[in-house]
Symmetry: C2
């Protein structure tokens, strides 16, 4: 199917260069189709991008929330599961397109298109709400909203750093894949920091 070949090539091109810097000539060369195919199968570059994003963000493994937490041990394991699943979203060995999703998301984070607001709303915001619900399980009822937000952001920050800037880490210390080699320790450490001072109640 020509349409699928184009979308697959487009995802690679958009992931590498972002929307503006990507060219339909490169996309067509990758896909092995004629340039005119873009305006035939889609109505143009913009619509191709929209459909490509719709496809890459279509499926996502669900993140655990705090609903069924009944103890401190639950809280710890659910938090670790949340972090692990979040990090895995951009590095799923069984799903090579996860890497493309991560790169495209990174481009969009810097240079948001009209579609991205919707993606944040549908794809990303529920995950943050899940994280929030986990933390609330361990926070006193009278905790200020600001403190809750700060805790959420700090956890999210650590995760997003590994999620987005993972490849940049190599520039500082390591040779090889630091994250993959130390994933268990990283997850445990972020979880421990996130749950610092918290007790199930």
């Amino acid at each position: 199917m020509t349409k699928n070949k184009i979308i697959a090539a487009a995802l690679e091109e958009f992931a590498e260069h972002g929307y503006h810097a990507a060219t339909i000539r490169n996309i067509c060369k990758r896909a092995g189709v004629n340039i005119a195919a873009i305006n035939y199968h889609f109505s143009g570059k913009a619509e191709l991008y929209r459909q490509a994003l719709e496809m890459i963000f279509a499926v996502k493994p669900p993140l655990p929330c705090g609903e069924k937490i009944q103890s401190d041990a639950d809280m710890k394991s659910v938090m670790q599961a949340w972090i692990r699943t979040f990090l895995n979203r951009g590095n799923d060995k069984k799903a090579p397109e996860s890497q493309l999703m991560k790169k495209i998301a990174h481009h969009e984070m810097l240079n948001p298109s009209d579609i991205f607001d919707e993606i944040i709303e549908v794809y990303f915001k529920p995950d943050v709400r899940s994280l929030e619900s986990i933390l609330r399980k361990g926070l006193p009822g009278d905790t200020s909203e600001q403190e809750i937000k700060t805790r959420v952001f700090s956890t999210l920050g650590s995760c997003m750093f590994y999620f987005f800037h993972g490849r940049c880490i190599e520039k500082f210390w390591t040779e090889g894949d630091f994250i993959e080699d130390n994933l268990d320790m990283i997850v445990e450490h972020i979880a421990a920091q996130s749950l610092m001072g918290l007790k199930f109640k």
Copy 2:
């Protein structure tokens, strides 16, 4: 001075759109000069970008390191100072160009130019080393290098989240400037998480 006007306009344009998407026609319109001035005063777009980056990354407030830490209280205050200064790098009210630096750094993080490796080396890596030296002051001598790195990255992650994605935070919960309104609490919270389980020795 025409050259300065061009650089000032270029910094705004590069910050907003990144190197590739920025156009010299827009830069010249901003600066109120003719298009040919770019190739007269500089040798082209690339050299203009190089000089603009050299200017915006020229000065940076130094970050404290762990050298003179003598107690747990020192460790806490130095860590808080490090975090506060780091966050302030991209939000200095007394230096409006800090916002431009932050945006340009963000673009470079995604789409690194040849110059960026040098900037990381000269501008950014020493800061990470400072953070590392602070943490080492509270870690047992037999702590594994992996754990030290993980601690550094987690702290760095929280900071960089607020540094880079601060404006994106509003999309989730808040109206207004969450970071500025709650800076003290954020700094204290990140510091507390970072020093979790650490004791001066």
